[in-house]
Amino acid sequence: MITFENVTRIFGTWKAVDNVSLKVEPGELLVLIGPSGSGKSTLLRMVNRLIEPTFGTIKLGNDNIASLQPEVLRRRIGYAIQSVGLFPHWTVERNIATVPALLGWSKEAIAKRVEELLVLLQLDPARYRKAFPHELSGGQAQRVGVARALAGNPEVLLMDEPFGALDPITRAALQAETLRIQRQLGKTILFVTHDMDEALRLGTRIVVLDQGKPVRIGTPAEIVADPGHALVTELLGGESLGLRRLSIETVASRLRKGEKAKGTAIAATAPLGEALARMLSESVETLPVRDEAGKALGSVHLSDFPRTLKPKKAVKA
């Protein structure tokens, strides 16, 4: 959906993005993560031409974006940012309608779309349609920001640390919303964050950037199982990496097939962390495991938990 081909961006003497080639697949939520100055925002902002690449090409679908009018291109791309940037003198309704209005939709179509999006983002249309941005909480404002980004029915969505300024509870709620919307609408999303928990939770794939270069690309499970780079280990929290694995790896990965155990069965698809929590609260070392349908599959043992080796090697052995 979005293809970066040998993209470089130089500011003065500093290479913000260094020869990046990357493909964002349709319907994927690709997370760009890295420390400050790793080039993640620069990479994102080149997609809607807020920044122009110094070298290389970027394609949206089959179109080379350099051949499109920047404004026309941007109306095809949703854009949500950390500071939200709602227009303070416009109502929620009008803010959401920004892109449809620029695209010249009819009044009725715009009103319908605004209603749809408010419902999608769980804001009561009757209450919020006519509200002004200063009347909204941070979380509500960002919901409106996301609605505005989605309003023009864009092919892709760019999100630049959209939840970075929110409190943890609101952030978790909006992350859940993002996943739901992503599943419901199947949008291709390019998402920038510096929060590894957010990346692991949201990403179908994660790209770790360092000094303008991708140092690790993989699914959350692959990255947790094998950080493969010192920076990735650091982002994963160093010593607490092991605990993160508990939330990524599932009970199925530690299943002892056919073995029996006492107690209430746990689903094979549940994260290991849930199994550990059950074991701790019930003071047991084994739990029976069942599949989705409730059929007994075997058991899971606490003593197997440290076996968090790289999955490929484990398979070979």
């Binding site: 807020l50 404004e71 291109l73 941007r74 940012i81 939200v84 303070p88 003198h89």
Partner: protein, 276 residues
């Protein structure tokens, strides 16, 4: 009738003064017995009123249009070099007392409407330019970013857009800007309104005229701010007390038609031009 609404009161007072004052000749004659003609009676007052309105409308319009155009030009990347020059020139216009401009202009243009228009236009140019520049540079970066990211054209979002691309791209962009588009107009109107609000505010701060006028103007400025959408450039208002009071009025009158609000505040602004 809303007792705080200024338009009906202004209209009533204007009518009373215009048609009532000539009848007050005996009172003035009594107060100033030494004057043979205590009241100007060569022309009817309504005719003077029309002259007056025409004069301030023309000079005010030139100031507003010219000032906003200048301000927009010098806040673009291609005009940034001229910013201090324009500010200095406008400040010079402000330093010249209108009477002095009249003194210089009358020998050149003769008596009549033209020297008055020139004096008033020059006098009004600084506040308009200065406040439009201030307003445009006060827009929060996040809002510019969002506007740009949503695909507004530079003209429409009135933002800096540094295009590093090929020259032909830039030409394309200008052509696109020049093309009339019904999508763009509302936003551009918003910005002109902001500027108008700023003039009113600026004039308020100049303290031209009486306290009554000051509050009228501040109110007009605020009404433009809430009706016309000038919250984008949230400028300070002289008195927070007044601000609070006016904010209430704003809330009550938000639904009021914008057009009336503009007319009213422009009229107020122009009246101050005339006072000056």
């Amino acid at each position: 009738m809303n007792a705080r609404a200024p338009i009906p009161w202004a209209v009533i007072l204007t009518v009373i003064v215009t048609f009532g004052l000539p009848l007050a000749r005996p009172i003035f004659a009594y107060m100033f017995p030494e004057l043979p003609r205590p009241l100007y009676e060569e022309d009817p007052f309504w005719l003077l009123l029309l002259d007056h309105l025409g004069l301030v409308a023309v000079s005010g319009a030139i100031s507003v249009l010219g000032g906003i155009a200048l301000a927009i030009a010098v806040t673009r990347p291609w005009g940034a070099d001229f910013r201090s020059l324009v500010e200095t020139l406008a400040a010079m216009g402000q330093t010249f007392p209108p009477v002095a401009v009249l003194a210089v202009a009358v020998p050149a243009l003769g008596f009549g409407i033209w020297p008055a228009i020139i004096a008033l236009t020059l006098y009004g140019l600084l506040p308009v330019t200065e406040n439009t520049v201030a307003g445009l540079s006060q827009i929060a970066p996040a809002i510019k970013e969002a506007a740009r990211g949503s695909g507004m054209t530079p003209w429409c979002s009135n933002l800096n857009h540094h295009q590093r691309g090929h020259r032909s791209h830039r030409l394309d962009r200008r052509r696109q800007v020049a093309r009339p588009s019904h999508h763009r107009r509302p936003q551009c109107l918003q910005h002109s309104l902001c500027a108008a609000g700023r003039i009113a505010h600026r004039l308020t701060r100049l303290g031209a005229g009486s306290a009554l006028r000051t509050s009228q103007l501040a109110r007009a400025a605020l009404e433009i701010r809430c009706n016309g959408g000038c919250a984008m450039n949230s400028y300070p208002v002289a008195s927070t007390d007044l601000d609070h009071q006016l904010a209430e009025i704003c809330a009550a009158e938000q639904a009021k038609e914008r057009f009336w609000c503009i007319l009213e505040s422009l009229d107020n602004v122009l009246a101050v031009f005339d006072l000056a």
